[in-house]
């Protein structure tokens, strides 16, 4: 099933989520490492990969947002408090925003740097610089913004991951499973009662 429905996520949403998640986490690791290597040639190459992958995130996130707009959103499982609901919305909203703002600030770094190193995404597409002031100060400002937003988003992403694990292992609801492709919500398992699980298994 490609599209979402009221109970589950479709394949497209799931692929968008996990592909972007993997690139996003890879980018944070890459960004951390690339500014710490003393090998200039390797550093140049890592920077170009980081830029290419950043533009890929921007592109995928744009498509993902469009897809989200034309798809229903599965409802939240029962028994979620208003605070949890608000926290989830805030975290998701922040992460969505981060997927746009962080690549844009990265683009600003490349655009404002006096080095004016061209962006040639995956050695396939030349991406022009943003019309920004070019100076060491401007580059330093955008670099700081880019790095701090990235680290902040890493913290929010960690909270998001912990929340998903909390739903799966503690609350035993379908929140994580449905993003892994479960076709319908898994039954609620309040406690690991073998008898109850066995009973439920007979339903299917």
């Amino acid at each position: 099933m490609l599209r979402n429905d009221a109970e589950s996520y479709g394949v497209v949403t799931i692929l968008f989520h996990w592909i972007i998640a993997v690139i996003f986490l890879g980018q944070i690791l890459l960004g951390y490492l690339m500014v710490r290597t003393g090998n200039y040639a390797l550093q140049f190459s890592l920077f170009q990969w980081h830029k290419s992958l950043g533009f890929l995130i921007l592109l995928l996130s744009g498509l993902r947002l469009l897809w989200r707009m034309v798809n229903p959103r599965p409802r939240m499982p029962d028994g979620i408090s208003r605070i949890e609901r608000a926290a989830a919305h805030a975290a998701h909203g922040f992460l969505y925003l981060a997927l746009f703002v962080i690549p844009l600030t990265g683009w600003a770094v490349a655009s404002s740097s006096p080095l004016q190193i061209p962006t040639y995404a995956f050695n396939l597409v030349v991406i022009p610089p943003l019309p920004l002031a070019i100076s060491d100060q401007a580059e330093a400002f955008w670099t700081m913004s880019h790095a701090w937003l990235a680290y902040l988003s890493a913290i929010v992403a960690t909270a998001h991951i912990l929340a998903a694990l909390h739903h799966h292992f503690w609350k035993r609801d379908a929140v994580l499973l449905r993003m892994l492709g479960a076709r319908r919500p898994a039954p609620v398992r309040p406690h690991a009662d073998p008898l109850r699980i066995a009973n439920k298994d007979t339903r299917s």
Binding site: A41, F44, Q48, L115, Y120
Partner: protein, 197 residues
Amino acid sequence: MTIARTCVSAILKAAIPLLFAIAPALANADTLADVAGRYRIDASSRIGFVVEQIGGGGISGDFKKFSGVFALNNGDISRSSIEFTLFPESVNTGQSRIENFLRSDAVFDAQNFPTVTFKSTHITQTSANTATIDGILTARGKSSPASFQASLATHDRNAIVFHVEGKVMRSRYGMDVGTPIYSNVVQFNMTIHGQRG
């Protein structure tokens, strides 16, 4: 009158092509005789380069420290020679981060290979005041043929100035970092001031 006119006309007809034919040879012989000798490359020379980048623009700069000598042969330009050394540590682009990158082991590895040398193997005259200089360029421990085009700009009794241009493929010297964002071709544009001595 008619006979005289015919005579003048005939002389002119013969003389003009003759003049055209010998003029360059005269100039050439004059130039060579004048400029033959041994020269030291003066610090007022400029060793400029450009590496183009994708989407327009590029990195341009020059080398501040270099040395060399050339000898212009009296009778046979092809028996002339040039030896040139430049010190990549002295690279200048107006942007220190780029200079540090160029000095580093990513490009020149100036610490381990402090000089880039060129030694001519053959010089071919291509016109009255131009020549092609073929030779061996050694950079970063790798030697490969390179070719430059020289044209005589000006000279007096003790000094001579050439414009020299040439394209060098940096990948041949293990310096292909940054391709294809930055061109593999380094375009040299040099003004060589020779001082007799």
